[in-house]
């Protein structure tokens, strides 16, 4: 089995009102020095097999086709050892 983490983040330049709201909430909790917050998504995916190259290619395709909306989001893939 291969465990992977796909992280989806908003592209730079895309406004993130939810991140802004979180940023303000952190400030109101007394956390000072928070410069900015951007909200994203994390997917923990378990794949069968042990071929890491194949897994990476499959995960990249999953990111493109479903996990991220590439109009507004970027994604990255990390395999866990």
């Amino acid at each position: 089995m291969i465990r992977a983490v796909v992280t989806v983040t908003l592209k730079g330049g895309v406004l993130d009102p939810q991140g802004k709201a979180i940023e303000h909430a952190l400030a109101s909790l007394g956390f000072s020095g928070v410069e900015s917050v951007r909200q994203g998504k994390v997917f923990e995916i378990v794949l069968s097999g042990s071929d890491k190259a194949k897994a990476k290619a499959a995960l990249a395709s999953m990111g493109e086709k479903l996990l991220a909306n590439t109009v507004i989001e970027d994604f990255s893939v990390r395999l866990e050892s």
Binding site: V14, L15, P17, Q18, A21, K65, L66, L67, N69, V71, I72
Partner: protein
């Protein structure tokens, strides 16, 4: 002309849409389910509003990958008219039939009210019964209607006259770039819009400004 309404788990405006098409078109539309891979022979396919798949992942993301949407895309390529309202608009962008994306409202609040729309393009198959520049009333009810596209896409939409409706000045309810409320595909046979014209078609609704959209799309005698 004949119409069909797509039904998916979590959509909840399908009944309103069926009622509107029946009242205006004079006969009930066909209905198609998410697993249907062949659509009935129709001239207009409507994807209504709601919360398909609970808005999981992103609004419209799961619905856009269901078998019925491959069939809808094939019909759209053949020139059949496709109308997506609210969640239907989100599904059309997720399916790649319309450019851009619909993001969380800038206010982060669900908006449910009547807005004013400006008819920007009155020569499309969906808007021919309006006048260019006409201001109409239309209800909106959504949490994710904040239209986003990159600068080049926005320029192309403008240049190709593909913005069908904009929120009239001062009524943008969601932060949409360019006050965009509804856009057309390049061929002009696919329209997506956030407002709900099906909910303003008779005096009991408080007005009938939405009616002309269906009269246009169904090519009904004026």
């Amino acid at each position: 002309m004949k119409a069909a309404v797509v039904q998916l788990p979590g959509l909840n405006r399908d009944r309103d849409m069926i009622a509107a098409l029946t009242k205006i078109g004079g006969r009930p539309p066909a209905t198609v389910w998410q697993t249907d891979t062949e659509l009935p022979e129709v001239d207009l396919i409507v994807i209504p509003g709601g919360f398909s798949y609970g808005d999981y992942l992103r609004c419209g993301a799961i619905a856009a990958r269901m078998p019925v949407m491959r069939a809808v895309a094939a019909e759209a390529r053949r020139g059949v008219r496709v109308l997506g309202v609210c969640n239907g608009f989100q599904i059309l962008t997720e399916a790649g039939l319309l450019p851009g994306a619909l993001m969380r409202n800038a206010s982060l609040k669900f908006v449910c009210r009547t807005v004013r729309l400006k008819v920007v393009n009155a020569s499309s198959p969906f808007t021919s019964r309006y006048q260019k520049g006409q201001i109409i009333s239309c209800p909106v009810a959504h949490h994710d209607g904040n239209y986003f596209a990159d600068a080049e896409t926005l320029r192309r939409l403008d240049g190709e006259n593909r913005v069908a409706f904009r929120y009239a000045e001062g009524t943008n309810p969601n932060g949409s770039l360019g006050d965009i409320a509804g856009i057309l595909n390049a061929a002009g046979n696919v329209l997506g819009l956030m407002p709900h014209p099906e909910n303003l078609i008779e005096p009991a609704h408080g007005g009938s400004d939405g009616r002309a959209l269906f009269e246009s799309a169904l090519e009904l005698a004026a």
